[in-house]
C-alpha cells in the first residue's frame, strides 16, 4: 500500500497512515488509516475542547496504544483518557434514559455495560464487589469504529492535532503499537486460552459475590417496598395518594385482566344461530370464504406454473 496516493484530508478529517508490522502468516506490509479531527465543540461535554475525535480505530486499539502514540511518536503529549465508541454510546443512552448516573464509575473495560436499566443511588447493588468477573483480558473494537481522545488540557489537544499534521508533512512513518510488546495481553491462541481459564473462575469467589449481591438485592427490595408503602400512605403536596405497587391487594396482572376482558366479550356476544337469517348469513359467509380459498388455490397453482416454467414433469 503506497501512502503517497492517499489524500491527506477527507472532509475535515486529517488522514494519518499507520504502518503495521507484517507477520509471517501475512508477509505483506499493511497500512491502516486513522481519520482525526478536533472534537466537535457543539457536543455539550466539558471535555470537548480538549479532545480529538478519531474515526476508523484499529480493532486492537487500547488506551495504551493512543497514549504511546502521542507520547512517543507525535510530539510527546499526554493523553488523559480514551473513550471508545461502544462505551460513549452507552453513556449517551444512559443519559437519554434519564437515569442519574454520576456515581464515580471506574473506567473498566466492560463494566459500563453491566449496569443499565434502573439504578437508584441508594439501591446500588452492583459494583466492583458484586460484579461477575470478566472473562476477557483485553477488549476488541469493531472494525471502523471511533474513539474520543481526551488530553490533559486544551493546548495539548491542539498541539496534538498539529503534531499529526507535521508528521504528515514530514512523511514520517508512524508505527502502530510500537514498543508495546509485552505490555499488553497477547493475541492468538494465548488470548483464547486465557479466556477459557477466566471463564471458569473460582467457585469460592463467585459464591461470595453472589451472596453479597443477593443480600444487597434483598435489602434494596425491602427498602423499596418500604418507600412504596410510605407513598401509599402519605398524600403528596396536592393531596393525592400515589398508586403504587404492593399493598394488600396486589395490582392485577395485565395478562389476567386481558383474559377476563376476553371472557366478558365472549359472553356479551349472545347466540349466533338463533334466527334463520343468522344461519343463512353464516352459510353465505362460509360460501364466500370457500370461494376465496378456491381463488387462493388457483392463484397458487398459477404461481407454481409461472415459477417452474409450467408444472412440467422432470425429464
Amino acid at each position: 500500500m503506497a501512502p503517497q496516493k492517499v489524500p491527506p484530508q477527507v472532509a475535515d478529517f486529517t488522514v494519518l497512515p499507520l504502518t503495521l508490522p507484517s507477520l509471517p502468516s501475512f508477509p505483506k506490509p499493511t497500512t491502516h488509516y486513522l481519520y482525526i479531527r478536533p472534537q466537535d465543540l457543539n457536543i455539550p461535554h466539558p471535555d470537548s475542547p480538549r479532545s480529538l475525535f478519531i474515526a476508523n480505530v484499529p480493532f486492537d486499539a487500547t488506551s495504551l496504544h493512543f497514549r504511546q502514540l502521542w507520547a512517543d511518536q507525535l510530539g510527546g503529549l499526554r493523553v488523559e483518557k480514551v473513550e471508545f465508541e461502544e462505551e460513549s454510546r452507552s453513556r449517551i443512552a444512559e443519559a437519554a434514559a434519564n437515569v442519574d448516573e454520576q456515581n464515580g464509575v471506574t473506567k473498566g473495560k466492560k463494566n459500563k455495560k453491566r449496569k443499565r436499566g434502573r439504578v437508584d443511588p441508594d439501591e446500588q447493588i452492583e459494583n466492583e464487589e458484586t460484579r461477575l468477573p470478566i472473562s476477557w483480558d483485553r477488549e476488541l473494537r469493531k472494525s471502523g469504529s471511533s474513539a474520543v481522545i481526551v488530553f490533559v488540557d486544551r493546548t495539548s489537544a491542539s498541539a496534538a492535532m498539529k503534531a499529526v499534521k507535521i508528521a504528515l508533512k514530514a512523511k514520517q512513518s508512524i508505527t502502530w503499537g510500537q514498543d508495546l510488546d509485552g505490555r499488553l495481553p497477547s493475541l492468538g491462541s494465548d488470548r483464547y486460552c486465557t479466556h477459557h481459564q477466566l471463564s471458569f473462575p473460582s467457585a469460592k469467589d463467585i459464591q461470595l459475590k453472589v451472596d453479597l449481591y443477593m443480600t444487597r438485592f434483598a435489602a434494596a427490595e425491602t427498602a423499596r417496598a418500604k418507600r412504596l408503602a410510605r407513598l401509599r400512605q402519605v398524600p403528596d403536596e396536592d393531596g393525592f395518594i400515589t398508586v403504587a405497587r404492593g399493598g394488600r391487594v396486589g395490582p392485577a396482572r395485565i395478562e389476567e385482566a386481558q383474559r377476563k376482558a376476553e371472557e366478558q366479550k365472549e359472553k356479551s356476544k349472545g347466540r349466533e344461530d338463533f334466527y334463520r337469517f343468522q344461519v343463512r348469513e353464516k352459510k353465505k359467509q362460509q360460501a364466500g370464504h370457500l370461494l376465496k380459498a378456491f381463488e387462493e388455490d388457483k392463484r397458487k397453482v398459477q404461481e407454481m406454473r409461472r415459477r417452474r416454467g409450467g408444472l412440467e414433469p422432470m425429464s
Partner: protein
C-alpha cells in the same frame, strides 16, 4: 366378432374412398348409430353398461357427484383405511340429510349436472382439433364448479390445489395435433399406398425364401431364436395385407405430448398365409418374420429414401420383430433428432387365426419342452389381439369421460418411474395400463374385484388403478377375467391377469422381480396418497424417480452378467429374505433404449456386455440383524435344505428359548456390511468363487464417511446416552436440593444422534465439547422478579448443585463457568460436569418466568418507548436466545431423538449432511438443528420414494430435495409426529378415530405456517432477516434457527452446491466415488485463512495418539482433563472475527476439520463516498476537485488484522 373398422382408424384402401381426407373413412365414430351397433354386436355387456351409466348420471346425479368429489373411490379402498376420506364421507352424509340444504348448493349441483352431460356430448368429437380445445375449456369450467362443491362437502381447501394442478398438467401433456401430426399423416398415407402396392410373392421353401430376400433385396429375415432348421419343410409367402390400421396411443389420442410420438401401424396378414398348426414351434413367428422382411424390402424399394428403416424387437420381445420407419429430414444433421415421430410397422394376425384355448398360458406350444410356454403363447396371442384391444380401450374411453385423462396420468406416473412396455423396463407400460384400466371398468369382473365407477374423474381412476395394482399380489391371487378354465402355467412365479375374451395375460412380460419392483412403486405411491400432510402431486407426476443412485440402498454389479438371471434372483431373495424390501434385477436407467438394427444386419438383442446390476432396497428393521434363525433341529428335511443352501455357514445353536436350530451368525465387526457378507457368501457357494470375487458391492462407501456410519444406526451414541441417564439419575438422587427437579432435558446434537463424531469415538478419552443439558426446577414464588437477580440465583443454584454432586459422587468433576458477560439479561452461568468415563455435560438452568419478564419488559407499551436502545437490544437478544435455548431446542431434541429411533438411517443421514456442509465451509451458517431439519425432510416426507433405509439414500435424497428447494417461495416444513400418525394408522388397520391423536399438525396448522411464511416475505421482502423459513411441528415459528443466518448468498450457494452434487450423482450413479461430493473449492473465496496444523482437528488427534503411542502406560494412566472441556480456540477466533468484521466480510469455516476459514467481501464494501461511521476499516482514495473523497475497504489491512488476531494459530493467509 365384428371387424375392427368402426373403432380403429383404419387406413382406407378401397379406391372409392375420398383420398384427400385420410381420416374420413375411419373416424372413431362415423355416427352414433354405428357406434351403438358396434357395441351391441361386440359385446352385450357393454351396451348394458352404457345404458346403466347414462341412467346413473341422469337419475342419481347428486349421489354420483358426492362420490366423485372424493379423493379416492371408496369401493376399492378396502385395504386403505383413509380416515380423511371417512371424514369427508361423513360430511357428505350430513349434508345430504340436511333437507334444508342450501339453494346455492342445489343450484350448483344442477348446473354441474348440466355441464357434465354437456361434457358427455362434447366428448364425442368429429374434428380432432376443435375437440381438444372445447373439451379442455368445458373441463376446466367443470372442474371449477366441482371444486367449489367439493369445498362445501369437504371443507378442505388443500384438495383443490391437487385438482387444479392435475388439470394444469393434463393441459400440458394432452396430445396436440399440429404440424407434426399433419406431416405424419401424409407420411402414413403414402406408406399405406406403398404397402398396398407391394406385389405378392411366390411360395418358397423357408431357407430359399430367406436367401432370395437377402440376395435381391439385401434384407435379412429377422428370424427369432432358434432359427428354422435346415430340415424345415414348409414354405413362406408374402401376400397383400388384409387391412392396414393405425392403432395404439396415437390412434386413441392418449399419447403424451412429452414423449416422442410413436405411431403404430398394424398390417394385418391375410389368413391364407397360415396353416392350422402354425401356432406350434415358432412356425407362426417364422412366417411373420418373413412377412415383415418382405414388407421392409417392398417399402425400401418403393420409397425414395424418405424413410430410414430399421428392425427392432417389439418391447424387447425377440419373437416379435417390427419395422421402424423414421422420416428423414432435409438437413443431414437433424436426421436423428429432427423428425419427432416414428412409425412402427407391426404385422398382425386375424384374431380368429388360432383358437384362444390353444394359446392359454398353461398350454405347451413348443415341442420338446416339458413345461407350458406362457411367454410364447402370449406373444402369439398379442399379434392377434392388437385390434380387439384397440376396440376395448376405445369403448372404455367412450364410456368414461375421464378414461383418456387417467391414461395420461398413468403414462406420466410410469414415465417418471422409468417403467415401460419393454421387458427391460419392467414390461408394464402405457398399453398395459390402458388395457387393465379398461377391463376394470367392465361390469362382468370376477368376484372379489370391485369395478370402477364410470363417474370417477381422472385422478380417481388413476388412483383406483394404482390401488388395484398395489393391493393385490397377482402372482399369488391371479385374475381370470371371463375365463372359465383358468389354470396356472406350470412352475410359474409370474403375475397373471388373464383377459379371457382376448386370451391374453396382460402382464406376460413381467417376471417376479420386475413385478415386485413395480408393485413396490405402486404401494409407495398409494402410501403417499394416504399421507395427508403433503400434496402428492409433485411426487406422483413431476419428480423423476428413476435415478438408480437415489433408489437403491445397495447395488451389486455382476460382470460379466450371468446367463440365468432368474437363478440369481432366487438366490438373492432366498438369502436376503426379510432384510430387504426389494431386489431389482437390472437397474440401469438406460434400459428403455431398445436396440434397432439395419435391414441387412442380424437381429440384435439387448446390450449384454454391460453386466448385470442388482439393486437392493433394505428393510431398515432387519437389515442389520446378526443372527438368522433356520429350521429346528427336529426337522431333518428342512435342516438339510438349509445346509444345502448355506453350506458351512450354517451352524446348529441352542437359543434362549431352549430351541435348537440351524442358524447363521454374521459379524458386525470390520467394515463389511452384513448384507455384503451374505451376498458374497451365497454367490461363492452357488455361482462360484470367480463370480463372487468379480462382483462389486456398492452402497457403504458414503455411509463410511462418518465414523461408525456403516452401521447405519444410532449405536455409536449408546455411550453418551447411558452417561446422560446416569447424570440424570445422579442429580435426581440428591436429597438436599432447595427445590425439586421438574425436568432434565437434553439439548445437544450429541444427545440427539446428530453430531458428526459420536462422543468418545475411537481413541478419544475425553469429550472436548460438552453435551448441553437443561435442568428445570419446580416453580417457586421465591425467585426474584428481577432479570439480573435471577441470573445470580441461577449461579447460586448451580454452585449448590455442584457441591452436592461432588460430595455424593467424588469421582465427578464439576466446574462453574461464566458466559455472555456482555449481555446482562441472558443466561450467564453453566456447570460443566465431567465423569471419569470422559463424558462431559454442560448444565444450564431454565427458569420459566424469565420468558415472561423479558417479553413484558420488551413489549409493554409503557416501558418500551422509554428503554434506551441498547437495553432494548440486549433484552431482545436475551429473549431470542432464551426462546431458542430453553424452549425450541429441548422440543427439537426430544422430537429428533424419537425420529432417530423410528428411522434408523436418519442419524447417519444428518451426520453426513453436517459433514457435507462443513466440507463446503458452511458450518457457521447452519446451526445444528437447522441441519437436522433439512435432513429429516427426506424421512418425514420422503415421496416419491419410501422412507430411506440407508444413510447414503437419505443423504443423496436430501441433496435432491435441497437442489430443488426454491427457498424464496417455499417454506421447508418437517412434521415429525404426523408421520407417526400415518404409521400408527397403517399398523392398526381399521382402528378409526385414533388418527387425530398426538402432536401432529392439522390442515389449519399447516395453513398457519404458510400464512406466517408469507407474512415474513411481506415484512422482509429483501430477505435480510429471514431468508430460509424452516419450521417443524414442534417449532412452528419457522424462524427459530434461520433468523439473520443463513443469509441469502449462503443459501444460494448451498442450493447450488446441492445441484452440482446431484448432477454428479445422476451422472455417476451407484459407481459414484463419495469423495467427489465432499471436495471443497477454495478458489471461489476472496481470501483463505489456513489454520496451523496443531490447532486443527487432525493435529489434535495426531498429538493425542502419538502421545499414547510412545508411552502406552501413560496412555492407560491418562486421566480425564476437565480443563480441556469446551476449549475451542479456533471457534472462539471465528466468533471474534464475526464480531469485528461481520458487517464487511462473510466468513466460511469447516467446523469439522477446523483447518480453513475463508471469506468473501460483502458487496456493499465496494468503493463509495467517504463518511465518518463506516462499519469497516477503510482506505481513502483521491478524487479530483472534491475535498470529500471516496473510500473503499482496506482489504490488506483487514487481512493483516486477522493475522494479528489469530497470531500463532494461523499458518498463512492467501488472497485470491
Amino acid at each position: 366378432m365384428v371387424s375392427p373398422t368402426a373403432c380403429s382408424r383404419k387406413l382406407s384402401h378401397s379406391p372409392t374412398d375420398d383420398e384427400d381426407d385420410i381420416w374420413s373413412g375411419f373416424s372413431p365414430e362415423p355416427n352414433e348409430g354405428e357406434q351403438e351397433g358396434t357395441s351391441c354386436g361386440d359385446d352385450e355387456n357393454e351396451s348394458n353398461e352404457d345404458a346403466e351409466t347414462s341412467s346413473g348420471i341422469n337419475v342419481d346425479g347428486y349421489a354420483l357427484d358426492g362420490f366423485s368429489e372424493r379423493d379416492a373411490p371408496p369401493e376399492i379402498l378396502e385395504d386403505d383405511n383413509d380416515s380423511a376420506d371417512e371424514h369427508i364421507s361423513e360430511d357428505v352424509d350430513k349434508d345430504n340429510e340436511n333437507t334444508t340444504a342450501e339453494d346455492i348448493e342445489q343450484l350448483g349441483t344442477v348446473q354441474g349436472k348440466a355441464t357434465d352431460s354437456i361434457g358427455h356430448a362434447d366428448i364425442r368429437p368429429r374434428h380432432t382439433v376443435r375437440h381438444v380445445g372445447d373439451r379442455s375449456n368445458s373441463m376446466s369450467r367443470k372442474v371449477e364448479k366441482r371444486a367449489i362443491r367439493t369445498l362445501h362437502l369437504a371443507g378442505n381447501p388443500g384438495s383443490n390445489v391437487l385438482k387444479l394442478q392435475i388439470e394444469e398438467l393434463l393441459d400440458q401433456i394432452r396430445p396436440s395435433h399440429g404440424k407434426t401430426e399433419a406431416t405424419a399423416e401424409s407420411t402414413l398415407k403414402s406408406l399405406k399406398g406403398i404397402i398396398e402396392n407391394i406385389p405378392n410373392s411366390d411360395s418358397l421353401p423357408i431357407l430359399q425364401a430367406e436367401e432370395e430376400l437377402m440376395k435381391f433385396n439385401k434384407v435379412r429375415v429377422p428370424f427369432p431364436d432358434p432359427r428354422p432348421g435346415r430340415d424345415t419343410q414348409y414354405k413362406l409367402q408374402y401376400a397383400k395385407p388384409a387391412a392396414i390400421n393405425v392403432v395404439g396411443s396415437y390412434a386413441l389420442k392418449i399419447e403424451s405430448a412429452l414423449d416422442h410420438t410413436v405411431i403404430d401401424l398394424v398390417v394385418l396378414m391375410p389368413s391364407l398365409l397360415f396353416q392350422d398348426k402354425d401356432y406350434l414351434d415358432f412356425r407362426y413367428f417364422y412366417r411373420r418374420a418373413y412377412y415383415l422382411a418382405s414388407l421392409a424390402a417392398g417399402i425400401r424399394k418403393a420409397d425414395d429414401g424418405n424413410l430410414s428403416l430399421r428392425f427392432q424387437h417389439l418391447h424387447g420381445n425377440t419373437l416379435l420383430p417390427v419395422l421402424i420407419a423414421k422420416p428423414r429430414t432435409e438437413h443431414g444433421a437433424q436426421q436423428r433428432f429432427g423428425a419427432n415421430y416414428v412409425i412402427r410397422i407391426i404385422p398382425s394376425a386375424p384374431d380368429t387365426l388360432f383358437a384362444i384355448s390353444r394359446t392359454m398360458p398353461n398350454k405347451k406350444c413348443i415341442r420338446g419342452d416339458n413345461d407350458s410356454t406362457p411367454f410364447y403363447n402370449a406373444s402369439l396371442r398379442l399379434d392377434a389381439a392388437i385390434l380387439p384391444y384397440l376396440k376395448l380401450i376405445h369403448s372404455a374411453s367412450v364410456k368414461s369421460d375421464f378414461f383418456k385423462d387417467a391414461c395420461l396420468l398413468g403414462r406420466t406416473w410410469l414415465r417418471q418411474r422409468g417403467f415401460g412396455s419393454s421387458i427391460a423396463t419392467g414390461g408394464f407400460g402405457n398399453f398395459e395400463w390402458a388395457a387393465l384400466m379398461a377391463i376394470l371398468l367392465q361390469d362382468d369382473l370376477p368376484r372379489g374385484i370391485t369395478k370402477f365407477s364410470h363417474g370417477f374423474d381422472s385422478f380417481q381412476l388413476f388412483r383406483a388403478t394404482l390401488q388395484f395394482l398395489a393391493s393385490r399380489d397377482l402372482t399369488k391371487q391371479p385374475i381370470w377375467y371371463q375365463c372359465s378354465d383358468g389354470a396356472m402355467p406350470t412352475r410359474s412365479t409370474c403375475p397373471m391377469f388373464l383377459d379371457g375374451l382376448r386370451g391374453m395375460n396382460i402382464l406376460y412380460k413381467m417376471d417376479s422381480s420386475s413385478y415386485k419392483a413395480f408393485r413396490y412403486e405402486a404401494r409407495t405411491t398409494i402410501k403417499m396418497f394416504g399421507d395427508s400432510k403433503e400434496n402428492p402431486f409433485e411426487a406422483a407426476f413431476i419428480l423423476k424417480n428413476d435415478i438408480p443412485a437415489l433408489r437403491y440402498d445397495a447395488v451389486l454389479e455382476l460382470r460379466p452378467g450371468p446367463s440365468d438371471l432368474d437363478q440369481v434372483y432366487s438366490i438373492m431373495s432366498r438369502s436376503l429374505g426379510d432384510r430387504v424390501s426389494l431386489i431389482k434385477v437390472g437397474v440401469s436407467s438406460q434400459a428403455d433404449q431398445l436396440p434397432a438394427w439395419i435391414l441387412e444386419d442380424i437381429p440384435r438383442r439387448t446390450n449384454e456386455d454391460s453386466g448385470t446390476q442388482i439393486g437392493l432396497v433394505f428393510n431398515p428393521i432387519n437389515v442389520n440383524r446378526l443372527i438368522d434363525h433356520g429350521p429346528l433341529a427336529e426337522d431333518p428335511e428342512g435342516s438339510a435344505r438349509f445346509r444345502q443352501f448355506w453350506g458351512d455357514k450354517a451352524e446348529l445353536r441352542r437359543f434362549k428359548d431352549g430351541s435348537v436350530r440351524e442358524s447363521l451368525v454374521w459379524s458386525s465387526k470390520g467394515n463389511v456390511s452384513i448384507t455384503e457378507q451374505i451376498v458374497r457368501h451365497v454367490l461363492t457357494r452357488h455361482m462360484g468363487v470367480e463370480v463372487a470375487e468379480s462382483t462389486i458391492y456398492h452402497g457403504t462407501e458414503l455411509a463410511r464417511k462418518v465414523p461408525g456410519g456403516e452401521q447405519q444406526t444410532t449405536t455409536a451414541f449408546k455411550g453418551i446416552m447411558t452417561a446422560f441417564e446416569t447424570l440424570s439419575n445422579d442429580i435426581r438422587g440428591l436429597d438436599s436440593l432447595p427445590l425439586a427437579i421438574r425436568q432434565i432435558t437434553a439439548t445437544d446434537s450429541q444427545l440427539r444422534y446428530s453430531s458428526i463424531d459420536p462422543p468418545l469415538y475411537g481413541s478419544t478419552k475425553q469429550m472436548t465439547s460438552p453435551a448441553s443439558v437443561i435442568i428445570q426446577f419446580e416453580g417457586s414464588g421465591r425467585w426474584p422478579d428481577d432479570l439480573e437477580a435471577i441470573q445470580r440465583v441461577k449461579i447460586a443454584f448451580l454452585l449448590k448443585l455442584s457441591s452436592l454432586l461432588t460430595t455424593s459422587h467424588p469421582s465427578i468433576i464439576a466446574r462453574l463457568g461464566l458466559e455472555n458477560s456482555q449481555q446482562p439479561y441472558t443466561n450467564c452461568a453453566f456447570l460443566d460436569i465431567t465423569y471419569p468415563t470422559g463424558h462431559s455435560f454442560r448444565l444450564r438452568i431454565h427458569h420459566d418466568r424469565e420468558h415472561h419478564l423479558l417479553s413484558t419488559r420488551l413489549h409493554s407499551p409503557s416501558s418500551s418507548s422509554l428503554l434506551p436502545s441498547k437495553t432494548k437490544e440486549s433484552l431482545a437478544y436475551a429473549l431470542a436466545s432464551h426462546k431458542r435455548a430453553f424452549l425450541a431446542l429441548p422440543a427439537h431434541t426430544t422430537a429428533l431423538q424419537t425420529a432417530c429411533f423410528r428411522f434408523p438411517a436418519l442419524s447417519p443421514t444428518i451426520r453426513l449432511l453436517h459433514l457435507w456442509l462443513a466440507s463446503h465451509l458452511l458450518t457457521p451458517h447452519f446451526p445444528s438443528p437447522l441441519i437436522d431439519l433439512l435432513a429429516a425432510r427426506a424421512f418425514t416426507a420422503p415421496w416419491p420414494w419410501d422412507v430411506p433405509s440407508s444413510a447414503a439414500m437419505g443423504f443423496q435424497r436430501t441433496l435432491f430435495f435441497l437442489a430443488r428447494w426454491d427457498w424464496r417461495a417455499e417454506p421447508w416444513v418437517v412434521e415429525f409426529s404426523a408421520a407417526e400418525e400415518v404409521e400408527a394408522q397403517e399398523g392398526e388397520r381399521g382402528g378409526q378415530g385414533s388418527s387425530r391423536r398426538g402432536g401432529g399438525m392439522t390442515a389449519e396448522d399447516r395453513r398457519q405456517i404458510a400464512v406466517r411464511f408469507e407474512a415474513w416475505r411481506k415484512v422482509d421482502p429483501a430477505m435480510n432477516r429471514v431468508a430460509a423459513f424452516v419450521a417443524s411441528d414442534v417449532n412452528r415459528e419457522g424462524t427459530e434457527w434461520t433468523e439473520w443466518r443463513p443469509r441469502k448468498v449462503v443459501l444460494g450457494r448451498m442450493v447450488g452446491l446441492a445441484r452440482a452434487a446431484m448432477e454428479v450423482v445422476e451422472r455417476e450413479g451407484y459407481r459414484l466415488d463419495p469423495e467427489r461430493l465432499f471436495v471443497r473449492a477454495l478458489g471461489e473465496y476472496d481470501f483463505v485463512v489456513r489454520i496451523k496444523k496443531e490447532f486443527t482437528r487432525a493435529g489434535r488427534r495426531n498429538r493425542e495418539s502419538s502421545n499414547g503411542g510412545e508411552f502406552k502406560n501413560l496412555r492407560l494412566q491418562r486421566k480425564v482433563e476437565p480443563e480441556k472441556v469446551g476449549f475451542d480456540p479456533v471457534g472462539a477466533f471465528l466468533l471474534e472475527l464475526e464480531e469485528v468484521y461481520g458487517d464487511a466480510v462473510v466468513f466460511f469455516y469447516d467446523g469439522y476439520r477446523e483447518d480453513v476459514i475463508a471469506g468473501l467481501w460483502d458487496p456493499h464494501t465496494a468503493k463509495r463516498k467517504w463518511k465518518v461511521h463506516l462499519d469497516y476499516s477503510s482506505l481513502p482514495l483521491h478524487r479530483d476537485g472534491d475535498d470529500v473523497g471516496d473510500v473503499e475497504i482496506n482489504k490488506d489491512s483487514i487481512l493483516g488484522d486477522i493475522a494479528r488476531l489469530g497470531g500463532n494459530m494461523i499458518e498463512k493467509i492467501e488472497m485470491n
